[in-house]
């Protein structure tokens, strides 16, 4: 979004000459966009791995696994992007996933219809998101504190509801439910299709609707947005509901894929989700980011994880590498904004 723009010397150019011009070529825009560079990094890494481990890495099986694994995170990262654009944060997504997953499991266990299970799961996510949103935008509490509270609260509720047991006896509609998250279409896992559809939908929403535009405006200058008549509170509330919904959607898919629901589902995911959006170019101060960035950030993290695994690096090092990439991403972002400031 930002780069140094060469402007004509002020006062010497007729407006007509200038307004007709495109201020930045597509090429310049690309070069200054973080998702572009992350995409390059992803391609380089995938090529390197394909050369280094052609059988293991570049196999159809591994592609299937990698894409499915990051789809769960990517879906949540898209919802998180809406929140982060407003300058907020949602730490509760991992717990929402756990709670929504348990709710799905309980409905199926009670021989409920698969559609009812999906609906109940999504409503659970939306409800927690609503609690977050009301407390943050109407009561005015800090997002960090509120969502830290729901992180704890939703997880605890998941443990209570599940009576701390794994739920796997899914009743008559279990197979149909499991087919949603566990199935695949033309060799691509269903969660990946959901991710793609969601990414396209959100790209359109963020770039071409009022609502998307308002997210950016609120993140840029909340007070200005309010003064110009943007319904700031309502939009912020909706962002948290969206984040809750995407976390729940991801829960529906992951429970179907695993064929069971445990209350620890999604533990620690909030960090991976936030890391994905940041690596993909979202600014934690708000006002900058996008759906594609969130997805590509999630993909990069998963490829790093997968590569380290295949390179025989101790799994315990993964966190360090992911952390390194987060810091690098923020550094890159800082350098870009400084250049254009």
């Amino acid at each position: 979004m930002s780069s140094a723009v060469t402007r004509p010397p002020p006062g010497r150019v007729a407006i007509e000459d200038v307004t007709g011009l495109r201020e930045r070529s597509l090429g310049q825009k690309l070069l200054s966009s973080q998702p572009f560079w992350v995409t390059i990094a992803l391609i380089v890494m995938a090529l390197a791995m394909s050369w280094y481990q052609p059988e293991a890495f570049a196999s159809a099986d591994n592609f299937f696994n990698i894409t499915r694994n990051f789809a769960f995170i990517g879906i949540m990262a898209i919802g998180m992007t809406a929140v982060i654009l407003t300058g907020g944060i949602d730490l509760s997504v991992g717990s929402i996933m756990g709670l929504a997953g348990v709710v799905c499991g309980l409905v199926l266990q009670a021989e409920g219809h698969w559609a009812l299970a999906v609906l109940a799961g999504l409503l659970t996510g939306a409800a927690v998101g609503l609690v977050n949103g009301v407390l943050i935008s109407y009561v005015g509490l800090p997002a960090f504190v509120v969502t830290l509270g729901t992180l704890s609260g939703a997880r605890s509720l998941a443990i209570v509801l599940s009576e701390n047991k794994m739920i796997y006896e899914f009743g008559p509609w279990g197979d149909a439910f499991n087919a949603i998250g566990g199935g695949s279409i033309v060799g691509v896992a269903n969660p990946v299709w959901v991710l793609l559809a969601l990414a396209v939908t959100f790209s359109v929403i963020l770039n071409f609707t009022n609502w998307g535009n308002y997210l950016y405006a609120i993140g840029g200058n909340e007070n200005a947005a309010r003064l110009t008549g943007v319904p700031v509170r309502r939009i912020k509330l909706q962002a948290y509901v969206v984040s809750g919904l995407t976390a729940a959607l991801s829960a529906v898919l992951i429970v179907g894929w695993q064929g069971s629901a445990i209350n620890a589902l999604g533990q620690g995911y909030e960090l991976r989700v936030i890391a994905s959006t940041v690596i993909g170019g979202a600014d934690l101060m708000g006002g900058q980011g996008g759906a594609y960035g969130a997805v590509i950030g999630a993909a990069l993290i998963e490829v790093i994880r997968n590569s380290l695994l295949m390179a025989g690096v101790d799994a315990n090092w993964q966190g360090a590498f992911v952390g390194l990439f987060i810091v690098l991403a923020v550094l890159l972002q800082r350098i870009r904004t400084r250049r254009s400031a």
């Binding site: 979004m1 930002s2 723009v5 402007r7 002020p10 006062g11 150019v13 407006i15 007509e16 200038v18 307004t19 011009l21 495109r22 201020e23 930045r24 359109v204 770039n207 071409f208 609707t209 009022n210 535009n213 950016y216 405006a217 993140g219 840029g220 200058n221 007070n223 200005a224 947005a225 003064l227 110009t228 008549g229 943007v230 006002g287 900058q288 254009s340 400031a341």
Partner: protein, 246 residues
């Protein structure tokens, strides 16, 4: 009949009396300078007219009808536009996006209403041209000079058929050349019959563009006279309190 008439407007913030029984009238096409020391109540007065605050006491009439503005949008629908002291711009958005913020142009594609960037860029370019500003619609506000930012904030007031534009210190933080640009823009608003209330600390600006100067001191209006029958010395005296009232 005056365009705007304030009668006995007071505004308290707890124990602070920011405005004390202020009367003020503004006619269509008139440019009124509002001067006073820091904390005199200028911004508060503008915010009452703009719908940011309901007055604690007093009455606001627009074209003779009493109005109660509860939100900025209420004032805006009545043709009152504001250029806020801090400009109220989003740095991360383009000039055009800022101009249309809250009033986006949309076009229908089937059941969907999507933003009509083409129309917004074109209209914003027109407005900047009308203001004789070299601001470009697609530029990010973050990259703009103070004068260009002013142009964005002023262009925003030209979207609807404004009757009145309130400007809170538009020339406080910009270079001399840009001040000239802003004063030109005020002339252009006046030419179109739009009333302007200009808050400014800069005496030359007020004497260059205003028809009338109003001086506030500690929440009270202490002077209200034609610029032609006053002088910078007198106004300075009124602001500081060396002259009690005029």
């Amino acid at each position: 009949m005056p365009l705007l008439e304030l009668r006995g407007i007071s505004k308290h913030f707890g124990a602070i009396e920011a405005l004390k029984a202020v009367d003020l009238t503004v006619d269509a096409g008139e440019v009124v300078g509002l001067m006073g020391d820091n904390g005199a109540g200028k911004s508060t007065l503008v915010k009452v007219v703009a719908g940011n605050y309901l007055p604690s006491e007093g009455e606001l009439r627009l074209d003779g009808t009493v109005k109660h503005f509860r939100r900025p949008v209420d004032a805006r629908t009545e043709g009152i536009e504001v250029v806020y002291q801090d400009l109220a711009l989003c740095d991360n958005l383009t000039a055009a996006a800022n101009v249309f913020l809250g009033r986006e142009l949309k076009r229908r594609i089937g059941p969907l209403a999507i933003l009509d960037y083409k129309a917004m860029y074109a209209r914003a370019a027109e407005l900047f041209k009308e203001l004789k500003s070299e601001t470009r619609p697609r530029d990010l506000v973050r990259l703009m000079s103070g004068g260009q930012r002013q142009a964005v904030a002023i262009a925003r007031t030209r979207l609807a058929n404004a009757k009145m534009v309130l400007m809170d210190e538009p020339t406080a933080a910009i270079s001399v050349r840009q001040v000239v640009e802003v004063l030109d823009m005020i002339h252009r608003l006046k030419d179109r019959g739009i009333a302007v209330v200009l808050i400014s600390h800069r005496m030359p600006d007020v004497f260059a563009v205003c028809d009338r100067v109003v001086v506030m001191r500690r929440g009270r209006k202490v002077a209200d006279k034609a610029v032609a029958s006053s002088s910078p010395e007198e106004v300075t005296g009124l602001i500081t309190g060396a002259i009690q009232a005029a």
